[in-house]
Subunit: 306 residues, 2 copies
């Protein structure tokens, strides 16, 4: 592939930014990638491992002359960064982000975007439970979705270029409305994460089931939850605070259903349980057919069975 | 390894029984493995693929002369099977099972065990979301735990042989008291499964988030839930009905914690969320150190990133 942007600036140098840099480098998609992180330690690490072409000591310096600027910081930090970099953005540049919620990002960043800069929020549906500048890898976005979530009209050429970049980094690209994005993600990601965090917290609290037993015998089920519940605390705090309404709505529905299943257990209503579990099995089949996972028998086995 | 039992009978020919047969064959642990399943279709399939050495058309025939009989049927079906086979068990034989709950199995099967037969309930902590005679594979138990859960005194030699068999099939073996087993498993497996089933059911119900979007964008979090929620409906119905008290207790704790986190989201209490998420992260670290999973960055990626 050829160069899509002469200069790309990544603000924040964690898992996503690092993976973007490595994915762009893999295909030569950017002339130069600059980077900035608030923490001097993160900047030092990024320099040491050569994560981007040039690590800058200020966000302003990093975005100077950049054709694409991507905010890769937690959602709660985006407004401050936007205020900081706004005066330094090049006219004609594209400003994007990788936040997990989009209405909050649009509200926080939108008002600070200068005339002549194309603001196209984005959300790559990819990640691991690891974080920090050393956690990135070039294949993170391969075959994953990246949603572009602009509000209202946006420059066609700017959209086309950003789409090309994400496709070049391995992703499939779709466009979605901001509020709909936040509801879909509340179902597919935000509520499941909160539930996993909760279940792991419950296990941790129990006095009669010692930590070592919970860990030692963490079979199918719980172990998958612990992986989810090991995700970056700052990022997830901001996700829940910035997608409050949709998350609370889904959790309310979840609680209703859970109570119905608890009642079925208490009353011994096996038919209700069987019918419910049969229905959910079909959804899994749909996901496998959609190519978002395989049906290899790895559940409860991690990497050990391979 | 050498032969541990001259004849092993497997009653039920699903994922666990099939994997046991293949794992015993891999190391030559049994002289002959017989098998029986209630469904003629399952028996035909087992014969066709050579899952066991001899498929029998009755449970009585399968257990005739067997040194070890293992009940590999859902917990709710165990009592009927025990009644059926009891008159045909060889004196000195060991009777075991692989059910996910143990108090219920002991109550259901125990009273029917003839004098001179050693009853040692067991629970291999291994599985996949697949079921049926064609889902088994020899490596299923490798590096997984198998818990032996006898109540009261049991013959030392019988225990030693069953332990040897499970170790020969690749598992680590531990002994546990029945009621404690049921509580530990409620935390590490049963409650997480019910929660995953619930979340997938909620997603399925939502009208505004179409099925295709939930499936298409099933990123990190939800996809792991769908895998869990694809597990065998009959088996899991019986798990919840037969471990009612412990499961409901853990779900009660879960709901308390979830409400506290929901309140933190509603009131914008970021510190509470951050502290909670930081605590759960440590548990994951413990599981990796205990060798029950790796920290390879595969979360949300299934097999695709490998």
């Amino acid at each position: 592939m050829s160069v899509i942007y002469d200069r790309v600036a990544l603000i924040g140098l964690g898992l996503i930014a690092g993976s973007m840099s490595l994915a762009m480098r893999r295909r030569g998609l950017a002339g130069e990638v600059t980077g900035y992180a608030r923490s001097a330690e993160t900047r030092d690490t990024a320099r040491r491992i050569g994560l981007v072409d040039r690590v800058c000591d200020s966000a302003a310096e990093a975005v100077e002359g950049a054709d694409l600027v991507v905010l890769c910081v937690p959602v709660g930090a985006m407004e401050a960064v936007a205020v900081d970099i706004a005066p330094h953005l090049k006219t004609g540049a594209t400003l994007s982000d990788v936040g997990s919620t989009k209405r909050a990002v649009i509200d926080a960043v939108g008002p600070h975007v200068p005339q002549g800069v194309h603001f196209i929020p984005a959300h790559p549906l990819a990640g691991t439970e690891h974080s920090g500048p050393e956690s990135g890898f070039a294949k993170l976005f391969d075959n994953r979705w990246c949603l572009l979530v602009p509000e209202g009209g946006v420059d066609d050429a700017a959209m086309a270029n950003l789409r090309l970049l994400w496709e070049g980094m391995g992703a499939h690209v779709d466009q979605m409305e901001p509020d709909h994005h936040d509801l879909v993600l509340a179902v597919t990601s935000h509520a499941p994460h909160l539930i996993a965090y909760t279940m792991v917290g419950v296990a941790d609290d129990l006095r009669r089931v010692t930590d070592s037993e919970v860990i030692k015998y963490s079979a199918a089920g719980f172990r998958d939850f612990t992986r989810i519940a090991a995700s970056d605390p700052t990022m997830w705090r901001d996700v829940f605070l910035s997608n409050k309404d949709a998350t609370l709505e889904i959790l309310g529905r979840f609680t209703e259903e859970l109570f119905a299943l608890q009642r079925a257990i208490r009353t011994g209503d096996g038919d209700h349980l069987f019918d419910y579990f049969s229905r959910t099995r079909a959804i899994r089949r749909g996901i496998i057919e959609a190519g978002q996972d395989t049906d290899a028998p790895d559940f409860g086995r991690g990497k050990q069975g391979e």
